[in-house]
Subunit: 207 residues, 3 copies
Protein backbone atom coordinates (compact mmCIF):
# COMPACT_ATOMS: atom_id res chain seq x y z
CA UNK A 1 0.00 0.00 0.00
CA UNK A 2 2.73 2.46 1.07
CA UNK A 3 4.79 1.26 -1.90
CA UNK A 4 1.86 1.82 -4.25
CA UNK A 5 1.35 5.31 -2.88
CA UNK A 6 5.02 6.17 -3.32
CA UNK A 7 4.81 5.24 -6.99
CA UNK A 8 1.61 7.26 -7.39
CA UNK A 9 3.43 10.22 -5.84
CA UNK A 10 6.33 9.85 -8.29
CA UNK A 11 3.85 9.58 -11.15
CA UNK A 12 2.33 12.89 -10.02
CA UNK A 13 5.82 14.42 -9.88
CA UNK A 14 6.52 13.29 -13.45
CA UNK A 15 3.23 14.63 -14.81
CA UNK A 16 3.60 18.01 -13.13
CA UNK A 17 7.20 18.23 -14.37
CA UNK A 18 5.94 17.67 -17.92
CA UNK A 19 3.46 20.55 -17.63
CA UNK A 20 6.31 22.71 -16.32
CA UNK A 21 8.61 21.77 -19.19
CA UNK A 22 5.89 22.54 -21.74
CA UNK A 23 5.28 25.98 -20.24
CA UNK A 24 9.04 26.67 -20.28
CA UNK A 25 9.05 25.69 -23.94
CA UNK A 26 6.26 28.16 -24.67
CA UNK A 27 8.54 30.83 -23.18
CA UNK A 28 11.54 29.65 -25.24
CA UNK A 29 13.67 28.95 -22.18
CA UNK A 30 16.99 27.14 -22.42
CA UNK A 31 17.53 23.63 -21.11
CA UNK A 32 18.41 24.80 -17.61
CA UNK A 33 15.27 26.91 -17.46
CA UNK A 34 13.20 23.91 -18.58
CA UNK A 35 14.70 21.80 -15.78
CA UNK A 36 14.14 24.45 -13.12
CA UNK A 37 10.55 25.17 -14.11
CA UNK A 38 9.80 21.44 -14.27
CA UNK A 39 11.26 20.81 -10.81
CA UNK A 40 9.49 23.81 -9.28
CA UNK A 41 6.15 22.77 -10.78
CA UNK A 42 6.56 19.21 -9.54
CA UNK A 43 7.97 19.85 -6.06
CA UNK A 44 7.05 23.46 -5.24
CA UNK A 45 3.67 22.74 -3.68
CA UNK A 46 4.92 20.04 -1.33
CA UNK A 47 7.97 22.09 -0.39
CA UNK A 48 5.87 25.12 0.51
CA UNK A 49 3.56 22.91 2.60
CA UNK A 50 6.47 21.33 4.47
CA UNK A 51 8.18 24.66 5.14
CA UNK A 52 5.00 26.25 6.50
CA UNK A 53 4.14 23.16 8.59
CA UNK A 54 7.75 22.88 9.77
CA UNK A 55 7.74 19.30 8.46
CA UNK A 56 11.45 18.64 7.91
CA UNK A 57 13.28 17.21 6.07
CA UNK A 58 11.38 18.11 2.90
CA UNK A 59 10.72 15.01 0.75
CA UNK A 60 13.29 15.71 -1.97
CA UNK A 61 15.97 16.69 0.56
CA UNK A 62 15.69 13.24 2.07
CA UNK A 63 15.26 11.16 -1.06
CA UNK A 64 16.69 12.27 -4.38
CA UNK A 65 14.38 10.04 -6.41
CA UNK A 66 11.98 13.00 -6.64
CA UNK A 67 14.51 15.29 -8.32
CA UNK A 68 15.67 12.51 -10.62
CA UNK A 69 12.12 11.69 -11.74
CA UNK A 70 11.25 15.34 -12.32
CA UNK A 71 14.46 15.92 -14.29
CA UNK A 72 13.99 12.82 -16.45
CA UNK A 73 10.40 13.85 -17.17
CA UNK A 74 11.60 17.30 -18.25
CA UNK A 75 14.36 15.96 -20.51
CA UNK A 76 11.98 13.36 -21.91
CA UNK A 77 9.45 16.07 -22.76
CA UNK A 78 12.03 18.08 -24.68
CA UNK A 79 13.21 15.02 -26.63
CA UNK A 80 9.63 13.93 -27.34
CA UNK A 81 8.65 17.34 -28.69
CA UNK A 82 11.90 17.74 -30.69
CA UNK A 83 11.24 14.46 -32.43
CA UNK A 84 8.06 16.22 -33.60
CA UNK A 85 5.75 13.93 -31.76
CA UNK A 86 2.72 16.03 -30.93
CA UNK A 87 1.69 16.28 -27.29
CA UNK A 88 -1.48 14.33 -26.60
CA UNK A 89 -3.25 17.21 -24.85
CA UNK A 90 -6.18 15.17 -23.60
CA UNK A 91 -3.93 12.46 -22.24
CA UNK A 92 -1.88 15.07 -20.42
CA UNK A 93 -4.97 16.63 -18.85
CA UNK A 94 -6.11 13.24 -17.54
CA UNK A 95 -2.64 12.44 -16.18
CA UNK A 96 -2.56 15.88 -14.57
CA UNK A 97 -5.92 15.20 -12.88
CA UNK A 98 -4.48 11.97 -11.48
CA UNK A 99 -1.39 13.81 -10.18
CA UNK A 100 -3.63 16.42 -8.62
CA UNK A 101 -5.61 13.70 -6.81
CA UNK A 102 -2.46 12.09 -5.38
CA UNK A 103 -0.91 15.37 -4.26
CA UNK A 104 -4.12 16.57 -2.61
CA UNK A 105 -4.52 13.43 -0.54
CA UNK A 106 -0.83 13.41 0.47
CA UNK A 107 -0.96 17.07 1.48
CA UNK A 108 -4.10 16.61 3.54
CA UNK A 109 -2.67 13.56 5.29
CA UNK A 110 0.63 15.26 6.15
CA UNK A 111 -1.31 18.18 7.63
CA UNK A 112 -3.54 15.87 9.70
CA UNK A 113 -0.44 14.23 11.17
CA UNK A 114 0.51 17.67 12.52
CA UNK A 115 -2.81 18.02 14.39
CA UNK A 116 -3.80 21.24 12.68
CA UNK A 117 -7.35 22.64 12.56
CA UNK A 118 -9.42 21.02 9.80
CA UNK A 119 -9.61 24.15 7.66
CA UNK A 120 -5.81 24.25 7.70
CA UNK A 121 -5.69 20.60 6.59
CA UNK A 122 -7.90 21.44 3.62
CA UNK A 123 -5.69 24.38 2.73
CA UNK A 124 -2.59 22.20 2.94
CA UNK A 125 -4.20 19.65 0.62
CA UNK A 126 -5.08 22.33 -1.89
CA UNK A 127 -1.67 23.98 -1.54
CA UNK A 128 0.13 20.70 -2.23
CA UNK A 129 -1.99 20.19 -5.33
CA UNK A 130 -1.89 23.64 -6.86
CA UNK A 131 1.00 25.77 -5.52
CA UNK A 132 3.60 24.24 -7.85
CA UNK A 133 1.51 25.22 -10.86
CA UNK A 134 1.01 28.71 -9.46
CA UNK A 135 4.79 29.14 -9.01
CA UNK A 136 5.32 27.90 -12.58
CA UNK A 137 2.89 30.49 -13.93
CA UNK A 138 4.20 33.35 -11.79
CA UNK A 139 7.84 32.73 -12.78
CA UNK A 140 6.78 32.47 -16.42
CA UNK A 141 5.02 35.82 -16.07
CA UNK A 142 1.47 34.53 -16.51
CA UNK A 143 -1.49 35.09 -14.21
CA UNK A 144 -2.02 31.61 -12.75
CA UNK A 145 -4.42 29.67 -14.96
CA UNK A 146 -6.09 27.92 -12.06
CA UNK A 147 -7.55 31.21 -10.90
CA UNK A 148 -9.36 31.60 -14.20
CA UNK A 149 -10.12 28.36 -16.01
CA UNK A 150 -12.38 25.38 -15.37
CA UNK A 151 -12.84 24.06 -11.88
CA UNK A 152 -9.49 22.87 -10.62
CA UNK A 153 -8.82 23.79 -7.04
CA UNK A 154 -12.46 23.13 -6.20
CA UNK A 155 -11.77 19.48 -6.99
CA UNK A 156 -8.93 19.55 -4.44
CA UNK A 157 -11.14 21.11 -1.79
CA UNK A 158 -13.80 18.42 -2.28
CA UNK A 159 -11.18 15.67 -2.18
CA UNK A 160 -9.55 17.03 0.96
CA UNK A 161 -12.94 17.28 2.69
CA UNK A 162 -13.83 13.72 1.66
CA UNK A 163 -10.51 12.47 3.03
CA UNK A 164 -10.96 14.25 6.35
CA UNK A 165 -14.53 12.99 6.69
CA UNK A 166 -13.64 9.37 5.96
CA UNK A 167 -10.60 9.49 8.22
CA UNK A 168 -12.86 10.73 11.03
CA UNK A 169 -15.05 7.66 10.43
CA UNK A 170 -11.98 5.45 10.89
CA UNK A 171 -12.26 3.80 7.49
CA UNK A 172 -9.25 1.72 6.43
CA UNK A 173 -6.47 3.79 4.79
CA UNK A 174 -6.87 2.25 1.32
CA UNK A 175 -10.55 3.21 1.35
CA UNK A 176 -10.31 6.86 2.46
CA UNK A 177 -7.31 7.44 0.20
CA UNK A 178 -9.02 5.77 -2.75
CA UNK A 179 -12.35 7.53 -2.39
CA UNK A 180 -10.77 10.95 -1.84
CA UNK A 181 -8.65 10.50 -4.96
CA UNK A 182 -11.70 9.44 -6.96
CA UNK A 183 -13.56 12.55 -5.79
CA UNK A 184 -10.77 14.81 -7.10
CA UNK A 185 -10.47 12.84 -10.35
CA UNK A 186 -14.20 12.73 -10.99
CA UNK A 187 -14.81 16.45 -10.40
CA UNK A 188 -11.77 17.48 -12.40
CA UNK A 189 -12.53 15.21 -15.36
CA UNK A 190 -16.17 16.29 -15.38
CA UNK A 191 -15.06 19.94 -15.38
CA UNK A 192 -12.74 19.29 -18.33
CA UNK A 193 -15.39 17.33 -20.23
CA UNK A 194 -18.23 19.84 -19.79
CA UNK A 195 -16.21 23.01 -19.23
CA UNK A 196 -17.58 23.74 -15.77
CA UNK A 197 -16.26 26.99 -14.37
CA UNK A 198 -16.68 28.91 -11.18
CA UNK A 199 -18.33 32.30 -11.58
CA UNK A 200 -15.83 35.08 -12.15
CA UNK A 201 -15.52 38.32 -10.25
CA UNK A 202 -15.13 41.22 -12.68
CA UNK A 203 -14.13 44.62 -11.40
CA UNK A 204 -13.37 47.55 -13.63
CA UNK A 205 -9.82 48.78 -13.27
CA UNK A 206 -10.04 52.36 -12.17
CA UNK A 207 -6.35 53.12 -11.72
CA UNK B 1 -5.00 44.24 26.25
CA UNK B 2 -3.97 40.96 24.60
CA UNK B 3 -7.62 40.45 23.68
CA UNK B 4 -7.80 43.91 22.13
CA UNK B 5 -4.65 43.30 20.16
CA UNK B 6 -6.00 40.01 18.85
CA UNK B 7 -9.09 41.78 17.50
CA UNK B 8 -6.93 44.51 15.96
CA UNK B 9 -4.90 41.77 14.26
CA UNK B 10 -8.08 40.16 12.86
CA UNK B 11 -9.26 43.56 11.69
CA UNK B 12 -5.98 43.95 9.78
CA UNK B 13 -6.45 40.49 8.28
CA UNK B 14 -9.94 41.43 7.09
CA UNK B 15 -8.83 44.72 5.54
CA UNK B 16 -5.88 43.18 3.73
CA UNK B 17 -8.13 40.38 2.47
CA UNK B 18 -10.48 42.98 1.01
CA UNK B 19 -7.65 44.65 -0.92
CA UNK B 20 -6.66 41.21 -2.21
CA UNK B 21 -10.20 40.40 -3.32
CA UNK B 22 -10.48 43.72 -5.13
CA UNK B 23 -7.22 43.13 -7.01
CA UNK B 24 -8.41 39.63 -7.97
CA UNK B 25 -11.61 41.20 -9.29
CA UNK B 26 -9.61 43.61 -11.43
CA UNK B 27 -7.96 40.52 -12.97
CA UNK B 28 -11.33 38.80 -13.49
CA UNK B 29 -10.39 35.80 -11.39
CA UNK B 30 -12.93 33.18 -10.39
CA UNK B 31 -14.17 32.75 -6.82
CA UNK B 32 -11.36 30.40 -5.86
CA UNK B 33 -8.79 32.86 -7.17
CA UNK B 34 -10.42 35.64 -5.17
CA UNK B 35 -10.21 33.54 -2.00
CA UNK B 36 -6.58 32.58 -2.57
CA UNK B 37 -5.41 36.09 -3.36
CA UNK B 38 -7.32 37.44 -0.36
CA UNK B 39 -5.79 34.88 2.00
CA UNK B 40 -2.27 35.40 0.62
CA UNK B 41 -2.56 39.18 0.93
CA UNK B 42 -3.83 38.91 4.51
CA UNK B 43 -1.54 36.18 5.84
CA UNK B 44 1.44 36.09 3.46
CA UNK B 45 3.53 38.66 5.28
CA UNK B 46 3.21 37.07 8.70
CA UNK B 47 3.78 33.61 7.27
CA UNK B 48 6.98 34.65 5.53
CA UNK B 49 8.19 36.29 8.76
CA UNK B 50 7.47 33.19 10.83
CA UNK B 51 9.11 30.83 8.33
CA UNK B 52 12.28 32.93 8.14
CA UNK B 53 12.40 33.40 11.93
CA UNK B 54 11.60 29.71 12.49
CA UNK B 55 8.68 30.82 14.64
CA UNK B 56 6.39 27.78 14.50
CA UNK B 57 3.52 27.07 14.41
CA UNK B 58 2.53 29.88 12.06
CA UNK B 59 -0.49 31.81 13.40
CA UNK B 60 -3.11 30.43 11.01
CA UNK B 61 -1.82 26.85 11.40
CA UNK B 62 -2.56 27.09 15.10
CA UNK B 63 -5.79 29.05 15.04
CA UNK B 64 -8.14 28.86 12.08
CA UNK B 65 -9.90 32.11 12.97
CA UNK B 66 -7.42 33.89 10.68
CA UNK B 67 -8.39 31.87 7.60
CA UNK B 68 -12.08 32.17 8.42
CA UNK B 69 -11.90 35.95 8.81
CA UNK B 70 -9.90 36.39 5.58
CA UNK B 71 -12.32 34.14 3.64
CA UNK B 72 -15.41 35.90 4.97
CA UNK B 73 -13.90 39.27 4.09
CA UNK B 74 -13.24 38.05 0.54
CA UNK B 75 -16.72 36.64 0.06
CA UNK B 76 -18.24 39.75 1.61
CA UNK B 77 -16.30 41.95 -0.82
CA UNK B 78 -17.59 40.03 -3.83
CA UNK B 79 -21.19 40.21 -2.58
CA UNK B 80 -20.86 43.89 -1.74
CA UNK B 81 -19.53 44.77 -5.19
CA UNK B 82 -22.06 42.54 -6.99
CA UNK B 83 -24.89 44.32 -5.25
CA UNK B 84 -23.46 47.39 -7.04
CA UNK B 85 -22.44 49.14 -3.91
CA UNK B 86 -19.43 51.22 -4.83
CA UNK B 87 -16.24 50.69 -2.84
CA UNK B 88 -15.56 53.59 -0.52
CA UNK B 89 -11.96 54.07 -1.68
CA UNK B 90 -11.01 56.57 0.98
CA UNK B 91 -12.48 54.45 3.75
CA UNK B 92 -10.55 51.46 2.46
CA UNK B 93 -7.28 53.39 2.41
CA UNK B 94 -7.75 54.47 6.01
CA UNK B 95 -8.64 50.94 7.11
CA UNK B 96 -5.58 49.67 5.23
CA UNK B 97 -3.39 52.17 7.08
CA UNK B 98 -4.77 50.85 10.36
CA UNK B 99 -4.07 47.24 9.31
CA UNK B 100 -0.56 48.25 8.30
CA UNK B 101 0.02 49.78 11.74
CA UNK B 102 -1.13 46.63 13.57
CA UNK B 103 0.88 44.26 11.39
CA UNK B 104 4.05 46.33 11.67
CA UNK B 105 3.94 46.39 15.47
CA UNK B 106 3.16 42.66 15.70
CA UNK B 107 5.98 41.79 13.31
CA UNK B 108 8.49 43.91 15.18
CA UNK B 109 7.45 42.44 18.52
CA UNK B 110 7.68 38.83 17.31
CA UNK B 111 11.17 39.54 15.98
CA UNK B 112 12.29 41.14 19.27
CA UNK B 113 11.14 38.02 21.13
CA UNK B 114 13.67 36.08 19.03
CA UNK B 115 16.56 38.30 20.15
CA UNK B 116 17.55 39.34 16.64
CA UNK B 117 19.68 42.38 15.78
CA UNK B 118 17.64 45.60 15.74
CA UNK B 119 17.93 46.08 11.98
CA UNK B 120 16.45 42.61 11.54
CA UNK B 121 13.57 43.52 13.85
CA UNK B 122 12.80 46.55 11.68
CA UNK B 123 12.90 44.40 8.55
CA UNK B 124 10.55 41.87 10.15
CA UNK B 125 8.12 44.65 11.05
CA UNK B 126 8.17 45.98 7.50
CA UNK B 127 7.95 42.48 6.03
CA UNK B 128 4.88 41.65 8.12
CA UNK B 129 3.25 44.87 6.97
CA UNK B 130 4.02 44.81 3.27
CA UNK B 131 5.00 41.32 2.04
CA UNK B 132 1.40 40.12 1.68
CA UNK B 133 0.64 43.01 -0.65
CA UNK B 134 3.81 42.36 -2.62
CA UNK B 135 2.83 38.69 -3.09
CA UNK B 136 -0.65 39.80 -4.20
CA UNK B 137 0.81 42.10 -6.83
CA UNK B 138 3.42 39.60 -8.06
CA UNK B 139 0.88 36.80 -8.48
CA UNK B 140 -1.47 39.22 -10.25
CA UNK B 141 1.39 40.13 -12.60
CA UNK B 142 1.79 43.72 -11.44
CA UNK B 143 4.96 45.44 -10.29
CA UNK B 144 4.29 45.92 -6.56
CA UNK B 145 2.60 49.26 -6.02
CA UNK B 146 4.40 49.94 -2.77
CA UNK B 147 7.67 50.26 -4.65
CA UNK B 148 6.25 53.12 -6.68
CA UNK B 149 3.45 55.04 -5.01
CA UNK B 150 3.16 57.32 -1.98
CA UNK B 151 5.12 56.62 1.14
CA UNK B 152 3.99 53.27 2.49
CA UNK B 153 6.81 51.13 3.74
CA UNK B 154 8.53 54.20 5.12
CA UNK B 155 5.65 54.49 7.57
CA UNK B 156 6.36 50.92 8.69
CA UNK B 157 10.05 51.64 9.16
CA UNK B 158 9.28 54.66 11.33
CA UNK B 159 6.73 52.71 13.37
CA UNK B 160 9.10 49.80 13.92
CA UNK B 161 11.87 52.16 15.02
CA UNK B 162 9.49 53.93 17.42
CA UNK B 163 8.41 50.61 18.89
CA UNK B 164 12.00 49.42 19.38
CA UNK B 165 12.99 52.74 20.96
CA UNK B 166 10.08 52.80 23.40
CA UNK B 167 10.53 49.15 24.30
CA UNK B 168 14.17 49.91 25.13
CA UNK B 169 12.91 52.61 27.49
CA UNK B 170 10.76 50.01 29.25
CA UNK B 171 7.51 51.86 28.67
CA UNK B 172 4.35 49.87 29.46
CA UNK B 173 3.18 47.66 26.55
CA UNK B 174 0.00 49.62 25.87
CA UNK B 175 2.06 52.78 25.45
CA UNK B 176 4.80 51.57 23.12
CA UNK B 177 2.27 49.62 21.05
CA UNK B 178 -0.10 52.58 20.88
CA UNK B 179 2.50 55.18 19.99
CA UNK B 180 4.17 52.97 17.36
CA UNK B 181 0.80 52.34 15.72
CA UNK B 182 0.01 56.04 15.74
CA UNK B 183 3.36 56.78 14.07
CA UNK B 184 2.54 54.39 11.21
CA UNK B 185 -1.01 55.70 10.91
CA UNK B 186 -0.03 59.34 10.99
CA UNK B 187 2.73 59.06 8.38
CA UNK B 188 0.63 56.91 6.09
CA UNK B 189 -2.45 59.12 6.32
CA UNK B 190 -0.38 62.26 5.78
CA UNK B 191 1.19 60.66 2.71
CA UNK B 192 -2.24 59.81 1.31
CA UNK B 193 -3.62 63.27 2.07
CA UNK B 194 -0.74 65.27 0.58
CA UNK B 195 0.61 62.70 -1.89
CA UNK B 196 4.06 62.47 -0.36
CA UNK B 197 6.36 60.21 -2.34
CA UNK B 198 9.91 59.03 -2.03
CA UNK B 199 12.19 60.13 -4.86
CA UNK B 200 12.32 57.63 -7.69
CA UNK B 201 15.38 56.08 -9.26
CA UNK B 202 15.08 56.21 -13.05
CA UNK B 203 17.50 54.25 -15.18
CA UNK B 204 17.21 53.95 -18.92
CA UNK B 205 16.71 50.40 -20.10
CA UNK B 206 19.62 49.56 -22.33
CA UNK B 207 18.86 45.92 -23.05
CA UNK C 1 40.69 31.41 5.82
CA UNK C 2 37.24 31.66 7.43
CA UNK C 3 37.78 35.40 7.68
CA UNK C 4 38.70 35.59 4.00
CA UNK C 5 35.63 33.63 3.05
CA UNK C 6 33.38 35.90 5.11
CA UNK C 7 34.67 38.91 3.21
CA UNK C 8 34.20 37.11 -0.11
CA UNK C 9 30.61 36.39 0.94
CA UNK C 10 29.99 40.05 1.77
CA UNK C 11 31.54 41.03 -1.56
CA UNK C 12 29.04 38.73 -3.29
CA UNK C 13 26.21 40.31 -1.29
CA UNK C 14 27.31 43.79 -2.39
CA UNK C 15 27.57 42.83 -6.07
CA UNK C 16 24.21 41.11 -6.15
CA UNK C 17 22.64 44.10 -4.37
CA UNK C 18 24.02 46.36 -7.09
CA UNK C 19 22.40 44.28 -9.84
CA UNK C 20 19.14 44.43 -7.88
CA UNK C 21 19.33 48.22 -7.50
CA UNK C 22 20.00 48.64 -11.22
CA UNK C 23 16.99 46.51 -12.14
CA UNK C 24 14.82 48.53 -9.73
CA UNK C 25 16.06 51.67 -11.44
CA UNK C 26 15.03 50.30 -14.84
CA UNK C 27 11.54 49.90 -13.38
CA UNK C 28 11.57 53.45 -11.94
CA UNK C 29 11.03 52.29 -8.39
CA UNK C 30 11.33 54.62 -5.44
CA UNK C 31 14.16 54.44 -2.92
CA UNK C 32 12.39 51.91 -0.73
CA UNK C 33 11.76 49.67 -3.73
CA UNK C 34 15.43 49.93 -4.68
CA UNK C 35 16.46 48.84 -1.17
CA UNK C 36 14.02 45.93 -1.08
CA UNK C 37 14.94 44.60 -4.51
CA UNK C 38 18.64 44.94 -3.69
CA UNK C 39 18.28 43.05 -0.41
CA UNK C 40 16.14 40.31 -1.96
CA UNK C 41 18.60 39.84 -4.83
CA UNK C 42 21.53 39.65 -2.44
CA UNK C 43 20.03 37.50 0.33
CA UNK C 44 17.05 35.73 -1.25
CA UNK C 45 18.94 32.70 -2.52
CA UNK C 46 20.65 31.94 0.78
CA UNK C 47 17.44 32.53 2.72
CA UNK C 48 15.46 30.14 0.54
CA UNK C 49 18.21 27.51 0.94
CA UNK C 50 18.26 27.87 4.74
CA UNK C 51 14.48 27.73 5.06
CA UNK C 52 14.22 24.59 2.91
CA UNK C 53 17.16 22.93 4.70
CA UNK C 54 15.82 24.04 8.10
CA UNK C 55 19.19 25.69 8.73
CA UNK C 56 18.32 28.31 11.34
CA UNK C 57 19.03 31.07 12.17
CA UNK C 58 19.30 32.44 8.62
CA UNK C 59 22.60 34.32 8.12
CA UNK C 60 21.18 37.86 8.13
CA UNK C 61 18.94 37.13 11.13
CA UNK C 62 22.03 36.32 13.15
CA UNK C 63 24.42 38.95 11.84
CA UNK C 64 23.15 42.26 10.52
CA UNK C 65 26.31 42.98 8.55
CA UNK C 66 24.65 41.35 5.56
CA UNK C 67 21.71 43.75 5.53
CA UNK C 68 23.96 46.73 6.12
CA UNK C 69 26.27 45.79 3.24
CA UNK C 70 23.38 45.17 0.85
CA UNK C 71 21.73 48.47 1.80
CA UNK C 72 24.93 50.46 1.43
CA UNK C 73 25.56 48.88 -1.97
CA UNK C 74 22.05 49.86 -3.08
CA UNK C 75 22.35 53.44 -1.86
CA UNK C 76 25.82 53.70 -3.36
CA UNK C 77 24.50 52.52 -6.72
CA UNK C 78 21.79 55.18 -6.76
CA UNK C 79 24.28 57.93 -5.85
CA UNK C 80 26.80 56.69 -8.40
CA UNK C 81 24.26 56.69 -11.23
CA UNK C 82 22.75 60.04 -10.19
CA UNK C 83 26.18 61.64 -10.38
CA UNK C 84 26.01 60.52 -14.03
CA UNK C 85 28.83 58.10 -13.74
CA UNK C 86 28.09 55.39 -16.26
CA UNK C 87 27.93 51.82 -15.01
CA UNK C 88 30.93 49.82 -16.13
CA UNK C 89 28.89 46.93 -17.54
CA UNK C 90 31.82 44.61 -18.13
CA UNK C 91 33.21 45.21 -14.65
CA UNK C 92 29.82 44.46 -13.17
CA UNK C 93 29.53 41.19 -15.09
CA UNK C 94 32.93 40.05 -13.84
CA UNK C 95 32.09 41.03 -10.26
CA UNK C 96 28.79 39.18 -10.60
CA UNK C 97 30.64 36.05 -11.78
CA UNK C 98 32.81 36.26 -8.68
CA UNK C 99 29.77 36.62 -6.42
CA UNK C 100 28.17 33.66 -8.17
CA UNK C 101 31.26 31.55 -7.48
CA UNK C 102 31.29 32.40 -3.77
CA UNK C 103 27.56 31.81 -3.30
CA UNK C 104 27.64 28.48 -5.12
CA UNK C 105 30.44 27.11 -2.97
CA UNK C 106 28.84 28.34 0.25
CA UNK C 107 25.48 26.85 -0.68
CA UNK C 108 26.98 23.49 -1.57
CA UNK C 109 28.98 23.39 1.64
CA UNK C 110 25.99 24.24 3.86
CA UNK C 111 24.01 21.47 2.17
CA UNK C 112 26.82 18.92 2.66
CA UNK C 113 26.88 19.75 6.37
CA UNK C 114 23.24 18.60 6.49
CA UNK C 115 24.10 15.17 5.05
CA UNK C 116 21.75 15.48 2.10
CA UNK C 117 21.96 13.37 -1.08
CA UNK C 118 24.57 14.70 -3.53
CA UNK C 119 22.01 15.81 -6.11
CA UNK C 120 20.36 17.89 -3.39
CA UNK C 121 23.72 19.47 -2.52
CA UNK C 122 24.17 20.51 -6.14
CA UNK C 123 20.68 21.98 -6.22
CA UNK C 124 21.36 23.91 -3.01
CA UNK C 125 24.57 25.32 -4.52
CA UNK C 126 22.74 26.43 -7.65
CA UNK C 127 19.82 27.78 -5.62
CA UNK C 128 22.12 29.89 -3.45
CA UNK C 129 23.75 31.29 -6.55
CA UNK C 130 20.73 32.03 -8.71
CA UNK C 131 17.48 32.20 -6.69
CA UNK C 132 18.03 35.79 -5.55
CA UNK C 133 18.29 36.93 -9.16
CA UNK C 134 15.21 34.92 -10.09
CA UNK C 135 13.22 36.60 -7.28
CA UNK C 136 14.46 40.01 -8.47
CA UNK C 137 13.26 39.31 -12.00
CA UNK C 138 9.92 37.83 -10.94
CA UNK C 139 9.08 40.76 -8.64
CA UNK C 140 10.11 43.18 -11.39
CA UNK C 141 7.76 41.36 -13.76
CA UNK C 142 10.44 39.95 -16.06
CA UNK C 143 10.94 36.35 -17.11
CA UNK C 144 14.18 35.43 -15.29
CA UNK C 145 17.13 36.19 -17.54
CA UNK C 146 19.13 33.19 -16.40
CA UNK C 147 16.61 30.89 -18.06
CA UNK C 148 17.33 32.47 -21.42
CA UNK C 149 20.76 34.06 -21.72
CA UNK C 150 24.34 32.76 -21.82
CA UNK C 151 25.38 29.90 -19.64
CA UNK C 152 24.96 30.96 -16.03
CA UNK C 153 23.49 28.26 -13.86
CA UNK C 154 25.49 25.66 -15.73
CA UNK C 155 28.59 27.27 -14.27
CA UNK C 156 27.11 26.79 -10.78
CA UNK C 157 26.34 23.14 -11.46
CA UNK C 158 29.92 22.50 -12.60
CA UNK C 159 31.32 24.34 -9.58
CA UNK C 160 29.10 22.46 -7.13
CA UNK C 161 30.11 19.12 -8.68
CA UNK C 162 33.79 20.05 -8.52
CA UNK C 163 33.42 21.01 -4.86
CA UNK C 164 31.66 17.77 -3.96
CA UNK C 165 34.24 15.70 -5.83
CA UNK C 166 37.24 17.38 -4.20
CA UNK C 167 35.65 17.23 -0.77
CA UNK C 168 35.18 13.48 -1.25
CA UNK C 169 38.92 13.25 -1.96
CA UNK C 170 39.61 14.96 1.36
CA UNK C 171 41.56 17.83 -0.15
CA UNK C 172 42.30 20.74 2.21
CA UNK C 173 39.44 23.29 2.46
CA UNK C 174 41.35 26.12 0.80
CA UNK C 175 41.98 23.88 -2.22
CA UNK C 176 38.47 22.51 -2.85
CA UNK C 177 36.95 25.93 -2.22
CA UNK C 178 39.47 27.65 -4.48
CA UNK C 179 39.19 25.19 -7.36
CA UNK C 180 35.39 25.07 -7.25
CA UNK C 181 35.24 28.86 -7.35
CA UNK C 182 37.66 28.95 -10.27
CA UNK C 183 35.48 26.45 -12.15
CA UNK C 184 32.43 28.70 -11.78
CA UNK C 185 34.40 31.82 -12.66
CA UNK C 186 36.12 30.28 -15.66
CA UNK C 187 32.93 28.85 -17.23
CA UNK C 188 30.94 32.01 -16.59
CA UNK C 189 33.60 34.35 -17.95
CA UNK C 190 34.12 32.15 -21.00
CA UNK C 191 30.37 32.18 -21.64
CA UNK C 192 30.30 35.98 -21.41
CA UNK C 193 33.35 36.35 -23.65
CA UNK C 194 32.21 34.00 -26.42
CA UNK C 195 28.45 34.15 -25.88
CA UNK C 196 28.00 30.46 -25.15
CA UNK C 197 24.38 29.51 -24.68
CA UNK C 198 22.48 26.36 -23.90
CA UNK C 199 20.12 25.23 -26.64
CA UNK C 200 16.65 26.65 -26.25
CA UNK C 201 13.39 24.74 -26.20
CA UNK C 202 10.84 26.46 -28.43
CA UNK C 203 7.23 25.41 -28.31
CA UNK C 204 4.50 27.17 -30.22
CA UNK C 205 1.86 28.61 -27.95
CA UNK C 206 -1.39 26.96 -28.84
CA UNK C 207 -3.66 28.53 -26.24
Amino acid sequence: MVQLFYFADLFGVAVFAITGALMAGRKSMDLFGVLVIAVITALGGGTLRDVILNNHPVSWIRDDTYIVVASLAAVGTVLWVQLTQPIHEKGLLIADAFGLAVFTVIGTEVALQHNVPLSTAVIMGVMTGVAGGVMRDVICNEIPLIFRKEIYATACIAGALAFIGLRALDTPPWLDTGIAMLVVLFIRLAAIRWHFSLPRFHLLDRD
